[in-house]
């Protein structure tokens, strides 16, 4: 029980931390994607990969929050949490795979 409590607190805090980082990184992302110069290419690569991870975590953890507010049982909560982690992991790999040729053109 205590372990679950600390996990919930950590997820709540991470939701806030990723929120602030997303606002900062999104500004750089919008600028670098549309008005980028050559020197910004490496910045863009770092920001875009970070954004992918941050946005997926924040978004899917948000979905988890919304779903869990409907009051599910323990088994259903585990199913939702594990399912969203798997979706996020697959989406991160696929997103990186798709982003790579744009970030590092050969």
């Amino acid at each position: 029980m205590a372990q679950n409590m600390w996990r919930s607190i950590a997820l709540w805090l991470l939701q806030r931390i990723t929120a602030v980082l997303l606002v900062v990184f999104l500004g750089v992302h919008l600028w670098a994607s549309n008005f980028a110069t050559d020197w910004a290419a490496l910045l863009r690569a770092g920001v875009d990969i970070s954004l992918l991870a941050l946005a997926l975590f924040h978004g899917l953890n948000g979905v988890r929050t919304v779903v869990l507010d409907f009051g599910l049982g323990y088994q259903a909560r585990r199913f939702v949490s594990v399912g969203l982690w798997m979706l996020g992991f697959v989406a991160f790999l696929f997103g990186t795979y798709g982003l790579w040729p744009l970030l590092f053109p050969s």
Binding site: R16, N34, L56, G59, G62, V66, G98, L99
Partner: protein
């Protein structure tokens, strides 16, 4: 009224519009915009992967054409889908910053004022990008 919809529509429900005030609307819009943005993120990831691998036909491309050019855009190559997302991101992000401040204990007494300020800034950002920023963007076809 069925028992399944009572939690939403009953007179005593927190989500019945007659019981909702500014803070509740902010909360509901934050959740709805968040869910929309998850949908946008997944389509954004797929659209970028598709662009980077040069996919130009197939069911998925047709789907994105529909998403990017809804009927009100007259079928022109406008980025309506991205622009809608931008406005929603502006609201969700600014209201999110407001939530962080409220959680830290700042501005609790002024939460109604800060909500309307948030809305005004979000609309201003959207208007700025649509009216002034958009013509500056390089053409990507």
């Amino acid at each position: 009224m069925g028992s399944k919809t009572r939690w939403l529509l009953d007179k005593s429900s927190d989500l019945n519009p007659r019981n909702m005030r500014v803070g509740m609307y902010a909360w509901v819009f934050q959740r709805l915009s968040g869910l929309y943005l998850v949908f946008f993120l997944l389509t954004h990831i797929t659209a970028i992967a598709q662009a980077s691998f040069g996919v130009t036909k197939g069911l998925q491309v047709t789907m994105f054409d529909v998403l990017r050019n809804p009927f009100w855009a007259g079928g022109s190559a406008t980025e309506v889908f991205d622009l809608i997302a931008l406005g929603i991101i502006a609201y969700h992000g600014l209201n999110g910053i407001r939530i962080v401040f409220l959680d830290l204990g700042f501005g609790v007494r002024k939460h109604r004022v800060s909500f309307w300020l948030t809305m005004a800034v979000a609309i201003a950002i959207s208007a700025y990008v649509i009216l002034l920023g958009l013509p500056l963007l390089p053409k990507v076809t």
